[in-house]
Symmetry: C2
Subunit: 379 residues, 2 copies
C-alpha cells in the first residue's frame, strides 16, 4: 500500500522527542500515526492520531499495537523484539528490521557484529559479572557498558584502573578499551527499502565531561577529506552489512593517529542529527520516513554551518519546567528553539534543543556560548 493512501497507518514504538519530530515531518506526508509509550504524558501524545499507553518491552502490548499498522518503526531500540518478529512474519513491515534491533540493542552483540564484519572498532572483552571483569584488570582504562538497558549515559562508566573495580556493574557487559581520540563524530546514514543509501555530512560531538550526554555539536565536522572518506565508508559499511531499512546513526572516534573506529550505532533518528531540520536540504526525520516508506531518499546537503545545543534540566531543579533566557537567545540571528513538551524537568533531563545556524564557523561558536550562558531550564 502506498504511504499516500488514506488507509495507510504508521506505528511508532516510543513517544518521546524523536517520535515528536518524526510526527512533525510526517504531517507533510499526511501519514496517519499511531504511538505506543508507557508514559501517559509522552511528548508525542497531543499530535498522534492514536496514542496507546503501554510498555514497549511487553510482548502482548507490542504485538497488539502493531497488528493493524502497515509499517512499524521505532524511536527507541529498547523494545520487545519477539513481538516485532511475530508481526513481521504476519506481514507487517517492521523497519528497522527486528534482527537489526536485536543486534544493536545488546551492546555485546553489537560489538561482536563489528568484529565479525571487520568494521574497525576499539578492542573489547565481554564480561558476565564483577568477578569476570576483575580478571581483565590489565585491560583498563576502559569503558564498561551494560549489554542491555543502558541509555543516554546510564549504564556506561569509565574504569580507569584496578582501584575502580569496586564500582563496576555486576551484569553482562562489554569492556571497551578507552580510545585516545582526537574527535568524536557521528554519521547518519539512511537506507531505504529498495537499498538506496545516503549519508549526511559528519557532525562533531562535544560531550559533557561528567554526564556523558552530548553537550553540543557542530556540523559539518571539521575533519580532513581522508577522515571524511573513511567515516563515510565505515558508516555505509555498517548500514549495508546490517541491511538496515531506516536511519542508522554511527558514532565514531577519530584517533590521534588518524584511525576511525566505530563507538556505537543507533538504528533510528539520533540526537546528533537534530540540526538537519534547519541546516540540511532534508531533515533526518523526513529521511527516516522516506527510507521506511520506500520513497526516494532526499538530498543531505548542508546549507550552512550549524550547531546544536541540548537543553538539559539544570542541576537541582525538579518540577514544572520554566525556560529562562529564551527571548534573549531568540534575539540572536540564526537561533531556533525546539522544546519537547515535557511538563516536568529534572537534573540533566533532555527538555529540548537549540539549533544555531551561521555561515561563519567562529561566529557560530560565539553564538553557542551565548546561548549556553543564557538559556536555563529551571523549575
Amino acid at each position: 500500500m502506498s504511504a499516500f493512501s488514506s488507509d495507510f497507518k504508521l506505528g511508532i514504538l516510543g513517544g518521546g522527542q524523536l517520535g515528536r519530530m518524526l510526527i512533525q515531518a510526517a504531517i507533510d506526508f499526511n501519514i496517519y500515526i499511531k504511538i505506543l509509550d508507557a508514559d501517559p504524558h509522552a511528548p508525542c501524545k497531543p499530535f498522534a492520531h492514536e496514542f496507546v499507553q503501554g510498555s514497549l518491552m511487553d510482548f502482548e502490548t507490542v504485538y497488539a499495537f502493531g497488528k493493524n499498522v502497515n509499517v512499524l518503526t521505532i524511536e527507541i531500540e529498547h523494545v520487545n523484539v519477539e513481538a516485532l518478529e511475530k508481526l513481521q512474519s504476519e506481514g507487517v513491515k517492521v523497519y528497522p528490521q527486528p534482527q537489526v534491533i536485536r543486534t544493536i540493542q545488546d551492546k555485546r552483540v553489537q560489538k561482536q557484529f563489528y568484529r565479525q564484519h571487520s568494521i574497525p572498532t576499539s578492542d573489547f572483552v565481554l564480561v558476565d559479572d564483577k568477578d569476570s571483569l576483575a580478571e581483565h584488570h590489565h585491560f583498563l582504562p576502559a569503558f564498561q557498558k551494560l549489554g542491555k538497558s543502558g541509555y543516554d549515559g546510564r549504564g556506561v562508566q569509565r574504569l580507569s584502573s584496578a582501584s575502580d573495580l569496586h564500582k563496576a556493574f555486576s551484569e553482562p557487559s562489554v569492556l571497551e578499551k578507552a580510545v585516545d581520540f582526537e574527535k568524536e563524530i557521528s554519521v547518519i546514514v539512511a537506507r531505504n527499502v529498495s537499498g538506496e543509501i545516503s549519508v549526511f555530512p559528519p557532525v562533531e560531538l562535544v560531550f559533557h565531561p561528567v554526564h556523558h550526554l552530548v553537550e553540543y555539536l557542530f556540523a559539518p565536522a571539521q575533519i580532513s577529506g581522508l577522515i571524511l572518506a573513511q567515516a563515510n565508508e565505515i558508516a555505509i559499511g555498517v548500514a549495508s552489512k546490517l541491511q538496515i531499512v531506516g536511519l542508522l546513526a554511527v558514532e565514531m572516534f577519530v584517533t590521534k593517529t588518524g584511525e576511525v573506529l566505530v563507538n556505537e550505532s543507533a538504528p533510528r533518528p539520533h540526537n546528533s542529527g537534530h540540526h538537519t531540520i534547519k541546516a540540511n536540504a532534508t531533515s533526518q526525520f523526513e529521511q527516516h520516513l522516506r527510507a521506511i516508506l520506500d520513497l526516494p531518499l532526499g538530498s543531505t546537503a548542508a546549507k550552512t554551518f550549524a550547531a546544536m545545543v541540548n537543553l538539559l534540566g539544570e542541576d537541582k531543579y525538579n518540577g514544572d519546567a520554566k525556560y529562562d533566557g529564551m527571548e534573549e537567545a531568540l534575539a540572536i540571528e540564526g537561533v531556533y528553539v525546539h522544546l519537547y513538551g515535557k511538563k516536568t524537568t529534572k537534573p540533566f533531563r533532555k527538555m529540548g534543543h537549540i539549533t544555531i545556524i551561521d555561515n561563519n564557523l567562529e561566529a557560530l561558536q560565539t553564538k553557542v556560548q551565548q546561548v549556553k550562558d543564557r538559556v536555563k531550564v529551571i523549575a
Copy 2:
C-alpha cells in the same frame, strides 16, 4: 504571560492548511493550540490540543472560543470581528488586531485605506450593485471584487468591456482598473508586539490564467534593486500604517513602466510564503508566532532559490484523494511535498503544495515543469 509558560494557550480561528503549518511550527515552541473551524474534518483537527467545531462568523461561537486563551490569532480573515473586539476589550490579546482584520476583510475598505494613506494602488471605484457598476462602463477593463466573502478566486472576475456587464456581481464591490503588469510579486512582512519589522525577500507569482489561483511561485523574485527597494518600502509602509501585529502578505503589481502598485494584502500566513519553510532561515509560520508572541523576529534570509507549486485537485475528479506521481517527483533532488490532509478532492481544491529548491534558477524551472507534469491529485 510568557508563551513558554505551561499555562499559555494560543487560539487560532480557522483550521485549514495555514493553521496546520502554524501548528507544525508551534510544536517547536511547545505552544498549547486551540482551533475553531466549522469543518469537523479540518486539516488541523488531528494536531490541535483542543478542537472546537463551530462557525467563524458567529459572534457567540467566536466569543466563547476566545474567552480562555491568552493570544488569539487567525489563519483566515473571514471571522466575526465584533466578537474579537469584545475579547480584546476584556484582555485577550488579539493579533492581528480586530481593526486590522476589519480594514482588510472588506476589499472596499482595504482599497480606501491604501488611498487614504497614499499607498500606491491601482485606480478604483466603489459600486453597490449591477446598476451602479454599469454607470462606470468607461472604467473597464477592470476587476470586480466583492467587498466581503470573496476568497481564493471566488468573488473576483475580470470585466473586459461593456459586453461583460451582464455577468457582473450585483453586490457591494470594488471595481479596480486592470493593471498592465510585468510581474506580480508578494512581500511578506512581519511586525511584532514591540513594533519590530522584518520583510521576507519578494516572491514572484504565476497565476493560472483561468482559475486565478497561484499556480507556482519563484523566490527570490527576479526584479531590479530599484523595484526591490520600492516593494519593501511599500510593504513596510502598509504594515506600519495598519500597525498590524503578525504577518502581512502584500501582493503587488510591477507595471511595465516600473511602478509598484499594491493589489491586495492578507493579515496572516500566505500561500506565497510556503517556500520559506524549506528555503529561508525562518519560516513564515515561525515568524508569525514570533510576532504575535512578542518574541524577537527571525532572519528572513533566503538560503537558496525556491519554487512552490500548489497541488490542486484535477478537474473532473471528486472523492477520496489519490496522489499520482509522488514517488517520481520525490526522486528529483530538492523536491519536498506538503499535503494538507484533506480527505476528499474536488476540481482546483488546494490539496497540498510542493516546494522545489535549487541553487540554479534554470535547473529549478525545469524541475517545476517535471513536478507539474508528474504529480496529479485524482480520486
